[in-house]
Amino acid sequence: MPRISSNVLLIIAAVLMLIAIYMVFIYAPTERTMGDIQRIFYFHVSSAWVGFFAFGVTFFYSAAFLKKKDLKWDNIAVSSAEIGLLFTTITLITGSLWARPVWGIWWTWDARLTSTLVLWLIYLSYLMLRNYIESETKRAYLSSVVGIIGFTNVFLVYFSIRWWRTQHPAPVIAGGSGSGLAPEMQLTFGFCLVAFTALYVYILSKKVEIGRAGWEIEDIYRTLDDK
C-alpha cells in the first residue's frame, strides 16, 4: 500500500466525484428511449465494477496471506471484502430502482444481476464466518480459503445463468452495455469508473489504517503486561 496519507486520497476522490456528478447530471445527454432515468446507469455500473474489483483484491490478498502467513495481508483482504460488500449492496439497490420504472419489475434472473447477488451472498458469509472464529490466525486461514473459492465460483455462476437465461429469455437490458452509448456518455461512464475507484482506494486505506491502529493498541497492552 503506497504510503500516501489517506487525506490526500480523500481530496483526490472528492474532486473526481464532484466532476463525475457534474458530468452525470449535466454533461451527459439524455437517453432517447428511457429519458433521464438512464442516468442511474453511470453510478450503478461503476459501483458494480468497483465491488467486483474489491472482491478481486480480497482474492489476491487472501492468496498472499496463505503464501506469506503475514496477518498484514489478511487485514487488507478483509477490509477490501467489506468495501466490496458495501458497493455490491449499492449496485443491487440502484439496479432495482432502475429496473422498476424501465421494465416494471424489481428483479430479473439475468446473468449479471444474479452473479452480483451471489457475490454479495458469498462475501456476506465470508464476513459472518470471521465473527465465529476466535483465534486470529485460524480466522485468517479459513476466510482466505473461502475468499478464494467464493470468487472463483462467481465466473461459473455467470456462465451457468447465461446458458440458463437463453432457455427462458428475460427482458433484454436496454442500453445496459456500454457499447450503444453516445461518446459523451462513454466519457461520463469512464470518468465515473475512475472516481469510484479513487473512492475505493481512499476507503481501503482508511480501513487498513483502522486495522493497524487496533493492532497498535494490542501491542501497547502487551508491552504493559510484560512490564
Partner: protein, 238 residues
Amino acid sequence: MSETKSVFEAQNIVKRFGRSAVLKKLNLRLKQGEFVSIFGPNGAGKTTFLKISAMIISPSEGNILVFGENIKNAGDLARVEIGFIAHDTFLYRNLTARENLKFYGNIYGIEDIDSTINHCLESVGLLNRAEDLVSKFSRGMLQRLTIARAFLHDPTIMFLDEPYTGLDSTASVFLNELIHKFYNTDKTGILTTHNLDQGYDLATRLVILNNGRIEFDADKDSISKNDFRDKYTEIISS
C-alpha cells in the same frame, strides 16, 4: 555414543498466534538415545512446540529437521518416524480397538499388521478386548489403547505431552514399561510435564521453557534434583 548425526533438530522456531509470538526463536538438538524433559508453567508454549516438532502444525518461522533432513522436503516420509501421546486419544469411538489400530497401521504402511497389533495390544493388556467398541472402553483402558496406538509403528522419535496427568495407576505402569523399553533400544524422546520428580527421573536432559524461550538446557547428571528444583522456581518467578 559416537558423535552421531542429530536425530531431531529444531532451528530458530518462532510461532505466532495472531501477532503475539508464543515461541521466540527456539533451538533444540537431540542425538540418538537422548530423552528430554521439558518443564514450564502453563502457557509457556510446551504443547505448541511439541505439535510443531511432531509436524502437526507448521512454525511461523524456522525449520524442523529429522535425521538432518528438512521436513519441508521429506514431509510425509519423515512422519513415519514420529510418535505422539497427547491428552486426546486419537481413537474412533465407533470402531473396535483392532479396527482403530488396523486403520493407523494401514496409514503408516506397516507390513505384518495383524501380528504387530496383537503384540501391541498384549503389551498394554488389552488383547482380550480387541473386538470391543472403543466407545465402551473405560478411561484406563482408553489410555492404555492410546499408548498402544502411539507405539504401534515403532517410532524412532516419541513425543509425550504431559502423558502422566490423569493417568490411572495400571496405565502409568504400562507407560513406564514402554518408555524404559524405549530407552534400551536407543530411541529418542521429548516429554513435557509439570511433575518435576517424574520428569527428572525419566530424562537424560532437562529443559525449562518459559514464555516462549528456552531458559535452561543441561544434561541431568550436571545438576542434582534439588538444585534443579531451586533453578526451576528461580526461573519461573523471575
